[in-house]
Symmetry: C2
Subunit: 319 residues, 2 copies
């Protein structure tokens, strides 16, 4: 029965991003026994009454999302990763500098008084300083989760998404990472440029169109770069060589192909690759990696949950 299960609750963990709040309840063996997803990302918190403090919308979201878990397990610690720790979040959890050993991240959590009987411990994001700095927030937790099962000396961990991250890990240390705005640029091109106007959404993913686009970056015309190459999504339509339904996947492939071609530039001797993320998107990245001779990549599932558990361990919350 539920009461028994809840008494066994060892950790309540949150993946709290911009557009969603995902909740995980762990038992003492580190297994997730229940998971929930809510739309209460930090840009979409529940409304609260006037006169409430800045904490109130977060408290309301947390209570609505897992108030029952909190009540049933008064001793279970509470941890969160993601944009909840950004400047626009509940409380800023200052970035840690890369390179670093990920085992150190757990000792640098930021404490927030939730007003709900226990503190929330927020995972810091990572910052790589330099001429063009880079930041991540949330992905560090997935990287930690994925590293748990890897033994390679050198790894390149890819986290495709709105902002794709590629994280270089050497002997267990996070040495460097890059961010490609591929997913968000794709959305903006489809929704807000002339390229979207001739497109029709296909009924099923069109791998042929995707691969045709993905190959562009390695052709002679790839040299003119992505700002030029994307126009071909329109012109191939004008000349009758690319159907309206093929254009979305062609353009997606074209952008992802340029991302993978850049990776090949950055890592002439490619290390082993691990992908973390949405299975459909990982499948597309696998196709593109294969095309550029970098596949197949391993895939790491449930990396967020695994990372949150390990961070709670490192933080001493599970003592």
């Amino acid at each position: 029965m539920n009461q028994a299960l809840n008494q066994d609750c060892a950790l309540i963990a949150l993946d709290w991003g911009t557009s969603s709040l995902r909740c995980y309840r762990f038992d003492r063996s580190g297994q997730v026994v229940e998971r929930r997803a809510h739309p209460w990302g930090i840009m979409n918190l529940p409304a609260v009454g006037h006169g409430e403090d800045a904490h109130a919308p977060y408290r309301a979201a947390l209570e609505a999302a897992c108030g029952d878990w909190l009540k049933a397990a008064p001793g279970a610690p509470l941890i969160a990763a993601g944009m909840v720790g950004s400047k626009q979040g509940w409380r800023e959890a200052a970035y840690l500098n890369v390179p670093l050993a990920p085992a150190l991240i757990g000792s640098q959590l930021t404490e927030v008084d939730t007003g709900l009987g226990r503190p929330l411990w927020i995972v810091p994001g990572l910052l790589e300083a330099g001429a063009l700095p880079n930041v991540m927030r949330g992905e560090e937790t997935q990287v930690i989760g994925a590293l748990q099962t890897r033994t390679e000396r050198e790894l390149l961990i890819g986290l495709p998404g709105t902002h794709s991250k590629w994280v270089r890990v050497i002997e267990g240390r996070i040495e460097h990472f890059d961010t490609f705005m591929t997913g968000e640029v794709y959305g903006a091109l489809c929704g807000h440029t002339i390229l979207g106007r001739t497109m029709q959404k296909p009924e099923v993913a069109d791998d042929e169109a995707f691969l045709r686009g993905a190959g562009v970056a390695r052709t002679a015309q790839g040299k003119s770069g992505v700002l030029a190459n994307i126009f071909s999504s329109r012109t191939l339509g004008l000349t009758g060589e690319l159907a309206a339904e093929a254009q979305p996947d062609y353009l997606s492939g074209l952008l992802i192909g340029h991302e993978i071609a850049a990776l090949k530039n950055l890592y002439p001797t490619t290390p082993a690759i691990v992908l973390i993320g949405d299975p459909g998107l990982c499948r597309r990245y696998q196709l593109a990696l294969d095309l550029y001779g970098l596949g197949p990549a391993a895939e790491s599932g449930a990396a967020t949950e695994a990372g949150l558990w390990i961070l709670a361990q490192h933080a001493g919350l599970l003592a």
Copy 2:
């Protein structure tokens, strides 16, 4: 007096694009004696009554824009360049294939019955076939206008804008051209991605920020490409190294810098460059060209009008 001037009218010429209709009245010496601009681009034509044919909105725009010119000069021919000749325009003026001698374009105009006492002659666009085809419509007229005053054996003509065109001309022939969607991508990034959220519009153009962005493509980090580099507009803001007011010009420079870097790739021995377009935008391209060792470029003003006049000559309309 006006009547005398109008009797001297040798040509009425239109630059009829997606968002505007520009009209030029020429005297017999080829001088523009009057110019007008209206917002009636082909995507923004005046409303007409129900039951009218598909020509009616074009006829209404033309009459409203220069009905008085037409009436006063019944013998003056009428010519137009731009998107009015696209599939979505008044009548499609089929593309001509590049390479070609621009003097041939004038003999391939498409005739439309305006219903206003004389035909409209529409200039065809240009198509360069290939694995990634390229098209232009309107720019061919500007190129013809600019070529009138040039004597170089080899030229690279740049037409910066929403879609920047770079046209290679050898011994007076149009040999090749590329399209970069730089301007439209910039608009989509500022308006519809996270990069725009931290930006503030500066009071005056910030050349320092522009040049800082323009230089990125030639640094070591430029190797990761434009999809990665653009993220720095946000991260330099997060680290306090780029003010909100500097971000728009930084991002503009970053994109234009990647465009110019790609040109350098495509043309290792750069020919003489001529720029055609909005003076403010040409000034920015001059800054970027200088940075990459390709400046200074010549600038060609009033290229559209000059091109329309020459095309009317080539078409025999001024006989």
